[in-house]
Symmetry: C2
Subunit: 157 residues, 2 copies
Amino acid sequence: MARPQRLDERQRLMWKAYRDLYQELSAVLEDQLLRDSGLSGSEYAVLVELSHAPDGVLRARELGSELGWDRSRLSHLVGRMEKRRLVVREECEEDARGSMVRLTDAGRATVDGVAPEHSEAIRRYFFNALSTDELETFATVVDRLRDNLAQQGVTER
Amino acid sequence: MARPQRLDERQRLMWKAYRDLYQELSAVLEDQLLRDSGLSGSEYAVLVELSHAPDGVLRARELGSELGWDRSRLSHLVGRMEKRRLVVREECEEDARGSMVRLTDAGRATVDGVAPEHSEAIRRYFFNALSTDELETFATVVDRLRDNLAQQGVTER
DNA sequence: GGTAGTTTGATGACGCGTCAATAAAACCTA
DNA sequence: TAGGTTTTATTGACGCGTCATCAAACTACC
């Protein structure tokens, strides 16, 4: 039975390219976001989720599971965002353990102000560089890999 | 002239899937790495670079540029790794400003011990899930996106 | 050769995320 | 309904990466 070995050179380079691409994309997009709005990527993600919710309110639990974050991370971040008046916390009516996170007017103005440019940057650095066929294959591959992950022992989140 | 808008639903989902895939892959691979070897992903990356260098030595500058990290990050990490006897710092002969980072025997044993299993995990969660054609398209797409990034205003690193 | 500017690495402060512990409320079950 | 379990959110300590700063040494130009 063959013992597992290191990746061959072609695979190693491809794996590195895949990871570097993600880092580079994240870096350029987060830089622009921060310059344009003062928001980090995490803060932007929170505001976007809230901006899609009715009345701009979500329960913390819901928000956390949408974002795939644990409660602690969300709690710390929401605490910081509350100090900056981007969101406010309110108590939850149906469940006294819960807490509701609400977008403030300032928070909505911030996310509405920067979302078009951020979206444009994603198109510029990602979607516009690919043909329709390539995009389709890419989407298929991403889905397949995520299915593969879910199917194997990856039960977290 | 049309003002930029938010992504349409299809693009939004695809962008999210792409990012989630990366996070999930990173999480499962880093978890396994940590369990099997006690190494974080960053530490592993340092050891792998050193293990490919002649005599297991690299100048810090070189190591940093291979990894795409700034000097400070590398300096902090190497400092921590030195305390754990995975690497040692030596002074650089040609350039008295420089510092050389050398893999210790323990460091080499650690990386050699875990590299096969880590590589196998990458195959299991990535390469093995894709057909040859898909892999090829995927590689093309990744390269195209990185070229596109480099070509546009992304001058960093 | 001397000086200005650049490169290299280290350091400390700080921000953010993770982990473990805590508390309170809701749920379940005998 | 009382007792134990689970869920929800917060908190503080800690680890790691970033940023600004610093010192030392190299380089280039006059």
